[in-house]
Each structure stands twice: as C-alpha cells, then as structure tokens.
Symmetry: C2
Amino acid sequence: MRRVSALVAAAALAACATPPLRGTGDLGVVIERSAGRVQVVDTTARVSLATVGGLGDLSHASVVYSRDGRYAYVFGRDGGLTKVDLLLRRIDRRVIQAGNSIGGAISQDGRVIAAQNYAPGGVKLFDAGTLELLADLRATPGPTGAPSKVVGLADAPGGRFVASLFDADEIWVIDASTPRAPRVDRHPRVGRNPYDGLVTPDGRWYIAGLFGEDGLALLDLWHPERGVARILDGYGKGDPALPVYKMPHLRGWAIANGHAYLPAIGRNEVLIVDTRTWREVGRVAVAGQPVFVIARPDGRQVWVNFAFPDNAKVQVIDTESMRVARTIEPGRAVLHLEFTPRGEAVWISARDDHRVVVYDTATLQQVAALAADNPSGIFFTARAARIGF
Amino acid sequence: MRRVSALVAAAALAACATPPLRGTGDLGVVIERSAGRVQVVDTTARVSLATVGGLGDLSHASVVYSRDGRYAYVFGRDGGLTKVDLLLRRIDRRVIQAGNSIGGAISQDGRVIAAQNYAPGGVKLFDAGTLELLADLRATPGPTGAPSKVVGLADAPGGRFVASLFDADEIWVIDASTPRAPRVDRHPRVGRNPYDGLVTPDGRWYIAGLFGEDGLALLDLWHPERGVARILDGYGKGDPALPVYKMPHLRGWAIANGHAYLPAIGRNEVLIVDTRTWREVGRVAVAGQPVFVIARPDGRQVWVNFAFPDNAKVQVIDTESMRVARTIEPGRAVLHLEFTPRGEAVWISARDDHRVVVYDTATLQQVAALAADNPSGIFFTARAARIGF
C-alpha cells in the first residue's frame, strides 16, 4: 500500500507541475538582444520569473500582447514571430514569417496579428491564436522595383492597421475586419521615405516621420478621405547642426496633456508640440540626441534616453515647467524604458551593464535592479489594453 | 496494476481540480444587485464563467482591481468589502468594515485599499493582500456633530487618495504612502455638500459636484497649495426645469480629446466642457436625464444612459458633430455600461430584463447577450491599469 500511495502522490505532483495561478496584469518581458531570449518579469515583486530562449535574432525586437495578457508576440529581426506563454514560461508557437522584419501589431479585438516586413516588403496577417497565415499583402514597389519595406505599423480603431511604405512613399490603411480578405486604402506621395509611424493614444491620428525630407505626414483616421497633410515643416535634417546617428523612433514620442514631446533630429533637444494645432510651442535642451521620449502615465514627467555617446544618461523633464528636473545614470547603453501602468515606477535597460534598473518616479530613487543579458526592449502587459500598442 | 493505474489517474485529476491557466486581462465582473452575487465574465468569449455569492447588500456596489488583475475588491452598501478571486471564482477574503458605505479605491502601487464610509463617517485603509485594517480616519463632523459621510474617493498619483466630505463641505487629500500613519491635507469650505468626485484620467484634477449649490469644486493635485476653485457656476439645480430624481454620478463623466462630457442636472442634456479652460462649449439634447456619460476609449463616441422613466434607452453621441448618432434600446432599466479596453465592444446592463447586452461599437449592432439576475454595475480588469479607477 505504501508503494501505491507513493505512486499516487508522485503522479499527483507531476500532473500538477504547472506554475501556481496568478494574474497577468503585472507581468512583462525584457528582451535579451544578444542571446535571443526574453525574461518574463513581475512588476509587483520586481523580479524575473523565468527566461525563455530560442527566439532567434532579437537585435531589433518588438512585442505586442494578447488581449487577455497571457501571451507576448515577439517580432524578431530575422522575421521570427514567437508567441510566448507568460504563465507557462515557454514558447507556445513560433513561425519564421519573413526574411527581415522590424515589428508588428495586434488588432483592436485581439484576433489578428500583423507583421511589417522588409523582405519581402509587405504586411502579413496571422490568426492570433494559431499563427496561421491569413493574408499576405505585397507592398507597392519602390524605385528598384522590389516591394517596398514596410514600417510604422500600428493598430487603429475599427479593426484597422496603418503602416508606411519606406521606398514607395505611401501610407496604407488596412481594414482587417475580414482578415483573409483585407482591404487596403493606399495614400500615395505622402513625402520622401516615411521611416516610422505612430497612432496617437486616442486612435485618431497617424503620424509618419520622413527620412528624405523635413516635416511629418499626418493622416486623420476619422477622415482618411481628406488625405495626408504635412505638419512641422521644420522638423528634420534640414539644419544639420549635429551628425544624425540614427533617426529617432516615432514610438519614442510622448503624447500627454494636449502636447506631444518628440526628439529633435540632429539637435540635443526635445520639441513640444500642441496636438490641437500641431504647431511647435517650445523646446527643451537635453544632454544628447534623444531616442525615446516617454511620458509617465499621468503626464507630469517625460523621461528621455539618448543616442551614443550620451547613452549612459536619462533625463526627467517636468512638463509643467518644460525643463529638465533631474539627470539620472542608470548604467551604460540605456536602450529603452517602460512605466508601470499607473506610473509609480519606471524600468530602464542598461545593455552594457547587463541590468534593468527600476526607479520610483516620485522620489527618482532606484528601488530595484535585475540582472539581464544585454537587455534592450521592455514591454508590460498593460499594453494589451491600449490602442496603438 | 490496473487498479493502481486507476487510483493514480484519479488522484492526479483530483489534485489538479483547479481551473485551467488563463490570463486575467479580459475578465470582468457583473454585479447582481438583488442576490448579493457577482458574475465573473470573459470579454473575449463573451460568456459568464462563474457566479460568486455571499457578497451581502450590493444594492449599491463598486469595484476596483488588484494590479495583477486577479482580484476584484467589491464594496457593498452594507459596509462589506469582499476580495474576489477571479481565477478560483470564489471569495478570497471578506470583512464588514462599516455600517454603510458606497465605495472605495486602490492605491497607485496596488498595496492599499481605501473605503469611503457613511457610517461611521470616514475613510479606512486596508492592506490589499490581507484586508488587515491599517488606518481608521474619522471624518470631520457635520452640522449634527456626527462624522461627515465620505464620498467621491479616488486614487491619485504619488500614493494619494482624494475624497469629499458631504456634511462637512471639505475635500481631503490623503497621503497613504505610509498607510499605517496616513497624512491628511484638509481643504475646508469647498462648497455646499460635495456629493461625488472624480480624478481626471491624467491624475491631475479632482472635481467634486455640489448638492447644495450650483457649480463644481476643482482642485489641482499638482498644486493643492493653490486651494479649491469653483468652475461651471451655472451647473446645478439652480434652474429646476425638470424635477431632479437623482444627482448624476461624477463617475458618469466622460473625459476625452480635451473635452469633458457631463450630465446636466434637471435637464435632458449633456454638457460639453473644454478641459483647458473648464468652460462650457456646447450642449447635446438627449432623450432623458443622463446618469452615466461614458466615452469609448478612443473618444469618438460618448454613450449615455438615463434616469427613470427613460431608462430603457441608451444614446450614442458622435463627438465630432456633437450630436446624437443613434438611439438604442438594450432592455429595461439600463443601469450601467462598460467598454472593452480598446473599445471595440460595450457591455450594457438591463436590470429589469435580467440580461447584459453586448454591442459592437463600430456597427452599433448587438453581438451577444448574457443572462444575469438584476444586473447593475459592470467592471473590467483593465481598470487595474488606470489612474482614478
């Protein structure tokens, strides 16, 4: 009998080897860019729960979440699309869906994943559950005749995706409500080489940065029939005060309290733009060329990181005074930063110091640090509930 | 051997009788107000997962969520505070913390629950994990000498709570960062009988409605030292065009795209207010006296329900034209409505038809209905990530 009891107990334990129940609202992932891994992190306990490997080339990676917060969809540079189960801490599914890709998005209702691809240039739509390919949209050719690289893909209300075509100078609005037969609204001649784009938090405006000329392209998603407008004519490389090491990520914009905060190009400045008029209303001098400019959720602060050689610093701008309130040094090669959903803390990756540092945003004091192998992007599950993420 | 295998299998199954793993980001609760129960619902599948009873008097009930989205804290009219586990679908903990209470809040970091009480009048702070009482703040007495009823409690950035004292005409800003020894900043003489309050989505402004006079009290939480101001002087019962059956919930305000949409008092109108100036900029004529005025997350629509005798209707206002775009009849006695996080659907309770109806917000068509016993409030877990909820 004792042997039977032992067998029974062992089987019970083995069958219940799943992790204990937990919520998903306070989870996130940290990209370990060199090792092709992600860490699953808990922002309440401020610890790493697990490391999941086998995600390929994550030298450029981005993440969106399933609407239940359980799965992270990781887009890798090599065209890998990996669905990671945060509760089981393992890969659920993985496909190599292109030769070269820099990211993707999830639809408003959570049913469709879209990937933006460089090679072949285009957009692919996948079932969010199974990663089955639903549609393969080849991009308009660029000057070489090859399909254009696609950039700046984001979801928008009404089951749509919006993206820019770098080589073909177009913006696409894709109606994916019937994902096997998506409808594409093409907006041609938006400006030279749109290189990134974002959807504003209210889901109304799509803004694309232009690599080939100054200014930005603006599309009103409530009235796409009105076409693409040009805003901020002076924004760009037109005045090369400083060499431009890298064009800033538009996802590096902060939109808060009626203003947009964006990295100046080739200048050590953050621009402040009124989002009712899209006119510049101020500038903040900062410590280097800004890369990411991210608002604390309540909009009281905007945090900025910088391109090499100033990439060991982070600055905190007070949005009321429009001045830098503090300079912080979290570590070497700060690549990204992410606020907890209600904004009490911010997590910052320091790639060359192999750590992620957590700051209290009220006291600006460090409250935790986690070891990580060449950490880059940090993405929390609260993004599941936000338009354009 | 066969009997051993059967024993082993049975034990394994029994030991793993916990519900399967799932995310919490797409869950919610529906209050069944007469039966003292809540339904746990899944907004992806659009089904009810379980019913949890034993929550006492839920004739007036409100809910906040733990930051991981796993637990719903339900505040009941009888002073009950119940922590409901959405994954195990059962009560985790429950206390009777007052004689009469209408709600509460959770702190920015998720560690502290605050309850606003009528009897005894005051605010109590609890540990969010254990529901241990941490602090008991007795309210300033009103004219009768009894501690004032506390209303309009919400969380604010910086680990604070803000509340109004109905009988004492005060607004309190409570620093709960040391929850066993909270510090209270009292703002006296804010206006006659503040009866409800809200914190704007950016966490900056606290607005309290006044029952005893026209106008609203406004406090800048970035500069509480500047004191309480009065806005919208004409807002109130001063012009009794219609009998006022109930004062509108301030939580029934919509703040979107630089405008606040609020129920007029005693009029069949929704007011539109510019949140930069706090001046009225328009009105929308609607089908009855509005109770809740709630914006779709992207701000393109505002949905309105009404007091008796117009409480079988819901209207959809297009925020661009500032006109009613559609009138819907979900059922009798519509008490509340809640949008899914990215806004593709809205859930509406129809108490007297014992159902919750789900609408697609793009097509305005009904897409699902769930049976519910006298349903009232509907609350989704995405609130866990939002300031003031």
